[in-house]
Structure formats: C-alpha cells, structure tokens
Symmetry: C2
Subunit: 393 residues, 2 copies
C-alpha cells in the first residue's frame, strides 16, 4: 500500500491534503488572471481549497490565499474546524445566519478596497448574481465583476498530487475488485430486474470500502441498453440480451467510474461485431493518453475506430471525462464545442475515464469504460477487470 | 392498495401523470404572470411537465402549453418517446447536437415574435444567461428577459394530485417498514462504523422497493450527532452514545425522508431531557399542519417548544421542507428570510417533513422527522415508526 495512503488510513484525523499550498497557488493564479478576489460558488472547489464538506455555502478567496468560508448554521462548527486545521491566518469562517452572503461580500469589497471580483459563473445562479449586484450597488462599490469563467480552481484540480493519486489508485483497485465479483457471480442474470441488479452492485461497491456510489448506478438491459444514461427499472433481464453496467464509488472523497457490458448468452454476430469495435475504440483511446496529447485527440483516436467500423453515428457522447472530487470534472475528452475555449494538453497527474460506446436504437448499446492516470511518459490504467463478454461464436 | 397506484405498478408503460393538464396550466400561469414563454433550466421541472428524466437539457414552455425539449444526443430517443406519449402537438424535441440551446432559443424568439421570456434564475447559471443574451442580441431580438424568479412550475408542484399522493403514501409506508426493521434489528449498534450502518440502511431501503436513496444517508454518532448534516465516517459507535439516522428513498420518482435518533444504552438525564423537548417540538409542528396555516407558523409552533425548554439556540435549521420529485422543494417551513417573498399558506395536497432538532456542540444532537400530507381539514402522517428511544430512567 502506498505510504501516503497508509497515513490517510491510520491517522484519519491527520488530513494529508496541502490546503495551504492550494490556497496560495489559487490566490496567485487569481492575481495572474487580473482579479483581486474570487467568489467561490462551486462546492467541490470549496472542499478542494479548505476541506469543507458542505451541501451549501460559498467562499471568498483573495489574492494572498485567504479564504472566507460563508456558511449557514448547519456548517458553522465544520467551518471553524477547517480554520483550526488549515490555519486561522488563511481560513476565516463567516456565519451567514447573521448577515446574508451578498451583504457580507459587498461590505467586505467596499471596506477592503477589492476592485475586481471574479465569479464562478458556470455555477453561480443568475438570481444570486443579481442579489450580489444589488448589494454591491447599495454600498456604492465602484469595482468590476468578472463574469467570464476563469476556471481558476477547476484548472488547479485537473492535475492530482501524490495523495490524490494514491486515493484514486486505491479506488480503482477496489472498484475493480467489486467489478470482478459482479461479473464472476453473475449479478446481472436472467430473471432479475434492473433495479435488483443495481441494488446488488451498490451493496458490493460499499462492501469493498467505498463511502458511497459516485453516481446513480446504470443497469440498462436489452433495447434499453441503447439509452446511454438509462436509469434502472423493474424490467427483467432476458436470455440473450446485452446489459450495460456502469457504476462508481467515492473513496476518500475521490471518484472512480467503470462500465462493462455483458451478454446473457451468445450475442448475435451483429452485436458481437459492435462489441469488438467498441473494445478496439477503447484500446485506441487508452493508447492515445500521454502528456502533450489534447483531450480532443484522445476522443478522435477512439472515434475513428468506430467510424471505420461504420458505427460513428452510434457514438453520441464523448470518449471520457476527468475524475477527482467530482465524477465529471476537467478535462472533457470529446469533440470540441464551439462555445468552449480550447483545453490545454494532457499532463502527468490528470486522471480520466476512457469510455467509448455504440448505441443502436431499438437493438443494443455497448459501452466499455476504464480509468487511467496520465504519467510522465504515457499512461497507467488504474482499473483492471476482465471484459465479461462471451467468447466469440 | 390505492387504485391509481395499482395502475402505476401493473402497467409500467401507461404513465398515469396528467402531463397535458400540467403543461396547459403552467402555460396559463405564465401568461397571467406577464410572460410569453419560460425557459426551463431546472430538470425536475422538465420532468414534472413532460416525464423526461435527464441529467442535462432544458425546455421552452410557451403560453399555449407547448414544450420544446432541448436535449443532447444521449436523450434524443427519450425526448422523442415523451413527445409520442404526451402528444406531438404539445411536446417538441429539439436536438442540441445540431444547434446550441441558446442559438435555437434566440432564433425561435425572433421567428415567433416571443416578446417576454422568463428565466428560471434560481437555477440558470450566470454563464448560460450571458450566452443567451449574446445569442438574442445577435439576432436583433427586441424583447425582454424576466430574471426575477416567477417559480411557475415550482408553485404548481407544491400541491400533489391523487397519483402523486398515492406514490408518496406508498413511499411513506415502505420507508416506515424499512425504519422499523432498522430499529428492531439494532442496525446502529456498538462496534459498527457509521459507514457500515449507512450501507446497511441503504440496502434495506432498496430491499423494500425504493429505486434509490433520496439523498446520502446520514449516520452521525456521539459528538458527531451535533453536526446536523454529518456524512458517515469510519468512526465506530460506542456504548451510551446518541446516533442520528436520517435516510430516504425514491418511489415512483417521489421522495420520502425520515429521521430517528437512537441511544446505545441509557441516555444521561440531560440528553433525555433534550430528546423529549425535540419530541414535543415535533408533535407541536405536526399538530400545526393544516390548510391556511403558513409554513412560518408551523416552524414557529415547533420552535417555541424548544425555546421554552431553553434549547432555542441549539435549533439552527428549519422545521421542514416540501417533498416530491425533489427531496427538498417548496414549501420551506422555516423562519422567513429577508430576501424571500412571503410563501402562501399551506393547502390540501402539500406534502412536507416535520423535523425539528437540538444540537449541543461537543455533546449530542437529536432530530426526529416524519412526513405529513396537508388534508382538507388538517393533516395525515404518512410515516409510522416507533421512536427508538430507550425508556426514561
């Protein structure tokens, strides 16, 4: 077991994350981007910077790396604990029971002469933005709000440090252990409902040490397998059908994610061909993962294989996504969208899924997903699970 | 079993929800509020109006009750199925793979002469709002965006119809069944970790027929019970401790929610007094639920009991929240916040939790939660679970 991981396990009260370094680097990045402060609305960003786990709240990060944690009464004690651990010079709890977050923000901006405040506009709601604008106007603030997304913390979160990688590797190993059991024990079997299969998968994910599922488990059988994001129903699995099993777990706060598609009997020649095209596409996607490659390059590598097999039209989603505190985070390995800025190339420490699929409406959908870490010279696959597909007939 | 519920169960492909009526009523409410169209960003609202279950997408509702479903390739087939079921005169799928949602919206507003477009600004992000503004400017649109929240669909969702009530009652009965087993079998017992207890609870919630947990189960033991929203950890339960168990399930899409606080041995006199104050506060809250009472009145009824016991300061959250497609929806039974508009009084068909608590930092937290339906003359409690508290010593 990795040494840092031992530290995490054996001393659960010694938090191994470098919150002080994260705060200071994020503050510096803010200044470089031309802002004096960042209003943090995205809760995983707040957790990354301070360790605060909350379902509501916000933060104000200043260029010198100080973070004001604005929390309601439910999280006052937790915010105080974060200040104590990270250091009361950097983390400052603010109780929003006494003053609304927008009023506090406005008075702070006015009193400290904060001139340019960046907003996390991908997450901040329009309504909350309006309340902030009104509060700032009420105190006569003459600064500027930056509403173009700067993605300061998202960018920092892309590259994982040694502690994060140790947790993700351990998560990958444990999810693989659960997946091997799920395949070997025939959890997806004729006569069970999709919901029963999902419940069994979820129990097994918990049993190998995950604190919870990383997302709602997908069990999609027969024609429903052609819906890439189907929710499990009370439909019973039938002989000869394809079943997509997509599940994940949260280990030490970090998410891992895996998909296998099984066949309850021998597949038709058409479905077998579809399966092997997806398998080759996934291998091509994984092989393309290395520092310097762009996320779009990886997507193209997988997509070209499916296009060559005549299945390009059946692959409607992206090839993969980053993994970390969120199960979907940067980078986005997909065809570029016109509204998005270009993404930087991959670099060592990025962790992502590779999960091409082919979905033929009314017939069958296939998806295969594994998790990989970008290393100094290439990649390391952190999930290890047999394919679960019947041998070709 | 309720007749409508039988219909839901035995004919899973006959959707019993009155989507056409919902669309037409929401369209009419929109016109009354002075808007020509509503851009729907809140996914539970999209589901309420059309039955579409998606993790991404948006909708445009027009005053005549037509709904355009803007979806990415993952949900194209599902959107087409909704149009077929609800009626292609009312539901119109739009593929955002071909044109971005904001570009489509702008061209539609221009071509159809839509003058006033309301936004769901509590959910729409500032970034998405900016993209919409830019797209509208690009087509030379001269209308107005309404960014004050109108809460058109949220308001419609407050009062449940007979099918929704049948699902919520059945959910309440099943969650109670699971809870009685959890208490009777001593799922929270000395030596187990909070995470083990949570996994056991989740498996039991699934076993009684829920499709999934309604939220991450809370198991908070000993001093951690004083954190109202603690996540389960690997802390082991010890003799004499208080443990808060808060869990819920989704049945037929509708959420139910329950909390019991147990003591692993005989409580101290102080904790016992704290428990009975919370119990009396919950009884007072439930007793206050009837048509015509405001949500703030219900909160006050429960809060006054805790204040009279000297525990007012230890009750930092609200007394309850609405239940439905979301586990937290309108109404909000809490002290009014200055930034919120006054909420309407309760009316028959509203479903909510009643869950006061008292949290003494460093010592113990207590919460008791049940679910109630507002009836024509009072209320009906839809959860039925013994208290799980040791008899007083």
């Amino acid at each position: 077991m990795h040494a840092t991981l031992c530290a995490v396990r054996d001393h659960p009260h010694v938090n191994p994350f470098d919150f002080r370094g994260r705060l200071q680097r994020a503050g510096a990045a803010l200044l470089v981007a031309g802002a004096d402060a960042l209003l943090i609305s995205h809760l995983p960003n707040l957790r990354y910077l301070s360790g605060l786990e909350a379902t509501a709240g916000s933060g104000l990060l200043t260029g010198d790396g100080r973070l004001f944690l604005l929390v309601d009464p439910r999280y006052e004690a937790a915010a105080a604990a974060r200040a104590e651990e990270v250091g009361p010079d950097l983390v400052h709890p603010v109780a929003t029971a006494d003053v609304s977050a927008s009023t506090w923000l406005a008075s702070r901006c006015a009193s400290d002469g904060i001139g340019r405040v960046a907003l996390e506009s991908r997450v901040l709601t329009l309504h909350a933005a309006r309340l902030i604008e009104q509060a700032l106007a009420a105190v006569g603030w003459s600064g500027a709000l930056i509403d173009q997304p700067l993605d300061i913390v998202e960018h920092a979160r892309r590259v994982k440090d040694a502690v994060e990688l140790a947790l993700l590797r351990e998560g990958g190993a444990r999810l693989s252990e659960a997946a091997r059991g799920i395949l070997a024990d025939g959890v997806a079997r004729v006569g069970r409902t999709e919901l029963e299969v999902a419940a069994d998968i979820d129990a097994r994910v918990r049993a190998v040490g995950f604190s919870r599922a990383a997302f709602d488990t997908i069990v999609a059988s027969g024609p429903r397998s052609a819906f890439p994001h189907a929710r499990p129903t009370d439909r019973r699995l039938e002989a000869g059908e394809v079943v997509v099993l997509d599940f994940g777990g949260v280990y030490g706060g970090y998410c891992v994610d895996l998909t296998r598609t099984v066949c309850l009997g021998l597949p038709s020649a058409e479905v077998d061909r579809q399966y092997h095209a997806v398998r080759l596409a996934q291998q091509a996607g994984i092989a393309a993962v290395r520092p310097g490659t762009t996320p779009a390059d990886v997507d193209r590598a997988a997509r070209q294989v499916l296009e060559a097999a005549g299945l390009g039209e059946t692959f409607g989603h992206g090839t993969g996504h980053g993994l970390g505190l969120e199960v979907h985070e940067a980078p986005r390995l997909a065809r570029p969208r016109p509204e998005d800025a270009a993404q930087p190339p991959l670099e060592a420490g990025v962790v992502c899924t590779i999960e091409p699929g082919a979905y033929v409406t009314g017939r069958a959908g296939i998806r295969i997903e594994d998790d990989v870490v970008v290393t100094a010279y290439g990649h390391e696959q952190i999930t290890d699970v047999p394919l679960g597909w019947p041998t070709a007939h």
